[in-house]
């Protein structure tokens, strides 16, 4: 949203701007100043800047979100191994404390920048911007941002990613999209992780998860996968290849346009 083209005037607030609307004067005689800015405009501005950085270098940025322990780092480890010959990857790791996840990534040969947020429950665009200064984007094809494990707060903060990838692990239960609609609405791709546990945890029905997602008007693809057994990994890797191809096409089109 911006404050120049009028796109911040939504169906919900348009009535305030009509003549005689609440913004024109106040009953108490105080000055009324209409603003209509998003509360997170400063974050969104930095996020747009980050996105521009990624695009200038043809780098695909994916924001991985899930509850803690859904298997984000495990998925990244498997993805780094599978993509080693094709793409150069780096990971920005968000955790409250420790470098554990960054160390796991480094052991697989990829660059990892650890952001420790202290008590903050989410990454924001400014933290990612700082981390980007430690990465040489010219040498990279894909940057994954592994957000703080949390199904609530990270959903509200644009980081400058191209795609949101949300993991829902089988042990968590298939109704998570109904319980956390804000998070799952933002997903461009939903991965039902730890699918190797489906035979044991048979009360998790992938079709229920899909139905709850559809109730959020989400058209995001849903893949079942297990980073442990590699089952379903091809769907995820093919999705990444397609996203890379689409990004390349976008950046080439942008470059071809007269300035």
């Amino acid at each position: 949203m911006c404050d120049t083209c009028g796109c911040n005037v939504t169906h919900g607030n348009a009535h305030l701007l009509k003549p005689g609307g609440r913004l024109s004067k106040t009953a108490s005689g105080h000055e009324a100043v209409s603003v209509l800015h998003g509360l997170l405009d400063a974050n969104d501005h930095t996020a747009a800047h980050n996105r521009q950085h990624f695009e200038q270098h043809g780098v695909l940025a994916g924001n991985l979100m899930s509850s803690p322990g859904a298997g984000k780092t495990r998925l990244l480890e498997a993805s780094i191994d599978a993509l080693r010959d094709k793409y150069s990857l780096a990971v920005i790791e968000g955790d409250l404390e420790t470098e554990n996840d960054a160390n796991r990534i480094r052991e697989h040969g990829a660059t990892a920048i650890q952001i420790t947020t202290g008590s903050a429950c989410h990454l924001d665009a400014h933290m990612v911007h700082d981390a980007l200064h430690q990465l040489d984007l010219r040498e990279l094809d894909i940057v994954f941002i592994e957000n703080v494990g949390n199904l609530v707060c990270p959903a509200s903060f644009d980081l400058g990613q191209h795609r949101n990838i949300t993991l829902l692990s089988v042990p968590e239960g298939d109704d998570k999209p109904a319980k956390y609609p804000v998070m799952f609405r933002t997903a461009d791709l939903v991965l039902l992780s730890k699918s190797d546990l489906l035979p044991v945890l048979d009360d998790f029905k992938p079709e229920n998860a899909r139905r709850h997602l559809q109730a959020l008007a989400s058209s995001a693809p849903v893949f079942e996968l297990s980073a442990k057994t590699a089952a379903g990994m091809d769907d995820w890797l093919n999705w990444l290849h397609a996203e890379m191809a689409a990004l390349q096409q976008r950046t080439e089109t942008l470059a071809a346009e007269p300035a």
């Binding site: 701007l17 913004l23 105080h30 100043v33 209409s34 509360l39 400063a42």
Partner: protein, 130 residues
């Protein structure tokens, strides 16, 4: 509890507008928040009472308008109310809808007292809507 971070962003905006508008006091801050913004109004209020201390908005009231969740159906074209986790068309039940309202996280307007009455030559709104 990302509401504290959201509140800090709000206070930065309010303080910068207060300076721009030469306000000596902010009387009230009006927000529009939809349930799909991911921000809990009650938690934001709690954060606000801490964050406003020592600022130009120290005495300000926080007024939060809760925005309704509304979807527009891509099949039948109707605009209907919906629930945050059930964004289906209220008319035909189809799930191919787009959100029209309900994810707002917006500073709508401020009420303030300017430093002197003579300094009110500037228009009250610093935005133009045609």
């Amino acid at each position: 509890m990302h509401e504290l971070a959201v509140c800090q962003a709000l206070m930065e905006q309010v303080e910068s507008i207060a300076i721009e508008e030469r306000a000596q006091q902010v009387v009230s801050i009006h927000l529009g928040i939809g349930p799909l913004s991911g921000v809990e109004p009650r938690l934001l209020e709690q954060a606000f009472y801490v964050a406003r201390a020592g600022t130009v908005a120290e005495q300000a009231e926080l007024v939060i308008e809760s925005m309704a969740v509304q979807v527009s159906c891509k099949q039948c074209g109707q605009l209907t109310e919906a629930l945050p986790n059930r964004l289906l068309c209220g008319n035909c039940g189809d799930w191919h809808t787009s959100l029209v309202s309900g994810d707002e996280l917006q500073l709508q307007h401020l009420e303030l007292i300017r430093q002197t009455q003579e300094e009110t030559a500037e228009p009250a709104s610093h935005q133009q809507f045609n």
